[in-house]
């Protein structure tokens, strides 16, 4: 790894109060897309709680309606 990149990593790690290894692990997780399990569970719970009690619907139908409406709006702008 180039020295200047290592210096930037160390500087950022110091700014965050983290280690070089910790910062690199965090960056790799973000880049690879693997979620943090605790953050994942908490986010999912918050999202589900937000939609509890909104009633029955089929997501494919409401998304298709939104897509068709957007397409109609785009066509009207021509």
């Amino acid at each position: 790894m180039p020295d200047d990149l290592l210096k930037r990593i160390d500087s950022e790690a110091e700014r965050r109060g983290a280690t070089r290894s910790g910062l690199l692990q965090e960056a790799a997780r973000r880049e690879l897309g693997w979620p943090d399990p605790a953050a994942f569970d908490a986010a999912l719970e918050r999202g589900r709680r937000a939609l509890a009690g909104v009633g029955a619907f089929e997501s494919a139908d409401v998304i298709r309606k939104e897509r068709d409406a957007r397409d109609s709006r785009d066509r009207r702008r021509r």
């Binding site: 897309g33 569970d41 986010a43 937000a50 998304i63 298709r64 939104e66 897509r67 957007r70």
Partner: protein, 147 residues
């Protein structure tokens, strides 16, 4: 990391919304199994940068008419579950080709283009994408999750 390679999946908004909402939904268990695969690292799930807009609009302006505060919770949760892909120039080239070929909007075709260019499956329950043969139902994909 699991010993077997995770399957790569791009989930569209019709699947992503089922991660949060279950009442009246088809294939909600399979959609959620794909999401569980992301947590367990047996599926590498992606959405598009477009997905939160579609989910938010459908909840706010569609029949569910969900309040803004609740919609905001859902939209804040989405990126914690699965990273969003911003299509690049080559993705848009492929999306335009697919849109023309299958008479789809560029928005819809972008999902298929992003999935194809990354060797991923497109998980969707959208009739147009399924009819065009560009996506697969969660019920089919869930069988391909590594044990």
């Amino acid at each position: 990391m699991p010993a077997t390679r995770a399957i790569d999946v791009v989930a569209d908004a019709s699947v992503a919304l089922k991660w949060f909402h279950a009442e009246g939904e088809e294939e909600v268990e399979a959609a959620r199994a794909l999401l569980a695969g992301q947590r367990e690292r047996t599926a590498a799930l992606r959405m598009l940068d477009l997905t939160p807009y579609e989910v938010g609009n459908a909840l706010l302006r569609g029949r569910p008419a969900v309040a803004a505060k609740q919609v905001a919770h859902v939209l804040a949760a989405l990126p914690e579950l699965c990273p969003a892909v911003a299509p690049d120039a080559e993705d848009f080239r492929e999306a335009a080709r697919l849109a023309e070929k299958h008479e789809l909007t560029l928005y819809d075709a972008a999902y298929a283009a992003v999935a194809r260019r990354r060797g991923a499956e497109l998980a969707t329950l959208d009739g147009e994408l399924l009819r065009a043969g560009l996506g697969r139902r969660p019920n089919e994909l869930v069988d391909e999750l590594p044990e």
